[in-house]
């Protein structure tokens, strides 16, 4: 019977999968383009690794925000506080286990980092759940109120950090074996940055697998595109959204730990400072797009590093320039998310 019905199908040609490669090509193009300006290939590798590490950290901090926006059209200006909170949560682990940081054992040092990350993600996940319930939920549907209220949440939470841990900056040293650099011939790569790249890649691949290979991931992607239809299929999108919000907060906490060890100082405002980059990145990537967020993070970080080396004065505004150029090219960002 199917064969009989076949002629009734419109005789379209087979559509091809359209993958948008152009934005992806930006990264290697950028690398090749800057190589002659940087001059020495070994310096270029060092800059590139540093840029990648930076990009991965930004990605960790930004990915949750972009998903939360995509799924529920909610913009959380208080996201930065989860970065700070994650960073401060390391103190819970570093306090009692300071010996592990001093020990000259890579295993023990990495275990310490892992514990810090776990503690940070647990704390920020729980606070994220409360934040969603108390701050965000009453203002669904109004961007204006969301921006205001989440900003208010940020103020209160930053002050709470001050009240709990004190207002002065707290130094946190890197664990012993993560200090220093690998030297391969002329190429110098700071160890911690290599670790940051590795963790960033693991999270990115994990997220890709989750989003593309699991039912939850399918639901999230579907929900970003058309939340109403997801509900009409019988799924409770609220529950999904809360989980994504909590996961996004926990990822920000993870990013906060990585960021804190990178700066080796804790301040309550550190999250808000880096939020500027986070916003630039999710705008460049296309609000709601995880892949775009990844490409955007690496792009922004690499540009900052190359420009910082070639023409330091320009580095201050290089991010804004990248964003302006991308928006002129694609007003919705590199990977615009189709919506309804």
């Amino acid at each position: 019977m199917s064969d009989m019905a076949a002629p009734s199908t419109a005789p379209d040609e087979l559509p091809r999968a359209k993958t948008d490669w152009l934005p992806l090509l930006l990264i290697p193009a950028l690398g090749l383009l800057t190589l002659p300006f940087v001059g020495s290939p070994s310096t270029w590798v060092t800059l590139t690794v540093a840029g990648l590490a930076m990009g991965m950290m930004i990605f960790l901090m930004a990915s949750g925000l972009t998903l939360v926006f995509g799924l529920m059209d909610i913009i959380n200006f208080g996201h930065g506080v989860f970065i700070s909170l994650g960073a401060y949560a390391t103190l819970i682990v570093l306090g009692p286990l300071s010996g592990w940081a001093q020990a000259d054992s890579l295993g023990l040092n990495l275990a310490l980092l892992a514990l810090c990350i776990l503690a940070a993600m647990a704390v920020t996940g729980v606070v994220g759940a409360v934040f969603e319930r108390v701050i965000v939920r009453p203002v669904y549907g109004s961007h204006l109120k969301q921006i205001l209220v989440t900003m208010g949440g940020l103020i209160v939470a930053e002050q709470a950090i001050h009240a709990i841990w004190g207002a002065s900056p707290i130094p946190i040293p890197l664990p012993q074996s993560l200090r220093g650099a690998f030297v391969l011939g002329d190429i110098v790569m700071e160890r911690y940055r290599v670790v940051a790249v590795a963790i960033g890649l693991v999270v990115f691949i994990g997220m890709q697998l989750l989003l593309n290979r699991t039912r939850i991931g399918l639901l999230i992607r579907a929900g970003v595109e058309n939340p109403e239809m997801v509900e009409a299929l019988g799924y409770r999108i609220r529950r999904l959204f809360v989980s994504v919000f909590v996961a996004g907060s926990a990822l920000a906490g993870l990013g906060g730990v990585m960021w804190a060890f990178y700066r080796q100082t804790l301040t309550a405002g550190m999250g808000m400072e880096v939020m500027v980059l986070v916003f630039i990145v999710i705008i460049i990537g296309g609000l709601g797009s995880v892949g775009g967020c990844f490409v955007g993070s690496i792009l922004v970080a690499l540009v900052a590093n190359y420009v910082g080396f070639i023409e330091p004065k320009l580095a201050l505004i290089s991010n804004i320039l990248v964003m302006a150029l991308v928006l002129i090219w694609r007003p919705q960002g590199l990977f615009p998310v189709a919506r309804r």
Binding site: S8, T9, A10, P15, R215, E225, L233
Partner: protein, 241 residues
């Protein structure tokens, strides 16, 4: 007379400041195809969306399968066995055809027999199985949308203008597919502007105007009564032949 599967009684719906449905009364009998006709803006889509809980009825009652679903949430309504195909189809363009169907089959993997049946109805889907649904043509998207609705057993299908904007050849194959669905015993509420398609498929017909049902009865009676057609729809069947 058994109780209808779906029963709307004096349903009013407001959207923002606008009063759209002014007391809709509608009964959908089990195992039959009911066509909802009416000009643009008569409230057909709003009726479907109100049944689905996407817009909340401000008064009146909606009973489904003996249960009051007037205030139920959209997911709960869907879980009670109603599938909805909106006019815009609601395809997830970023997901593949397969992933769209996997999501729609909420209770688990689609069993082999059902899958074969579905793909038999819409063979085009088989060819594009692992491609992003955004690449499909309009007609293919419509097929996917209906396939999604029947990806697991449902009690009732709500389908909004499935032939809209389709080429005549696609309209014909869509009509064939609906005939097959009817033969399989599905209960369907179909919004349709195309009277030719509507009259070919409908067991029952309800005509809406200005947020109310102004006529309901057997489709065969409406097809036979040209004056009634003229009065209700402002058109005659001849014009379409």
């Amino acid at each position: 007379m058994t109780e209808p599967l779906l029963h709307l009684r004096d349903v009013h719906t407001h959207i923002g400041p606008y009063h759209i449905l002014h007391g809709v009364d509608l009964a959908i009998p089990q195992g039959e195809l009911t066509v909802l006709l009416g000009r643009n803006g008569a409230g057909k889509t709003t009726t479907l969306r109100t049944i689905m809980g996407l817009w909340q009825a401000s008064s009146g009652q909606i009973r489904f399968d003996g249960r009051d679903i007037t205030a139920a949430s959209t997911p709960d309504i869907a879980r009670s066995g109603i599938a909805y195909v909106p006019e815009a189809m609601g395809i997830f363009t970023d997901l593949t055809v397969r992933e769209n169907i996997v999501l729609a089959a909420r209770s688990g993997p689609v069993d082999k027999a059902r899958l074969d049946w579905m793909l038999g109805l819409f063979p085009a889907l088989k060819r594009f199985w692992n491609l992003p649904a955004g690449n499909l043509s309009g007609g293919q998207k419509q097929m996917l949308a209906i396939a999604r609705a029947i990806s697991e057993p449902r009690r009732l299908l709500l389908i909004d203008e499935p032939t809209k904007g389709l080429a005549p050849v696609m309209v014909r194959s869509m009509i064939e597919a609906f005939k097959a669905l009817k033969a399989a015993g599905e209960t369907i509420l179909l919004v349709e502007q195309n009277f030719h398609a509507a009259s070919a498929l409908g067991d029952n017909v309800a005509v809406m105007d200005d947020g109310r049902i102004v006529h309901s009865g057997r489709m065969s009676e409406l097809v036979a009564d040209k004056t009634l057609q003229q009065r209700l729809l402002g058109l005659s069947l001849d014009a379409h032949q």
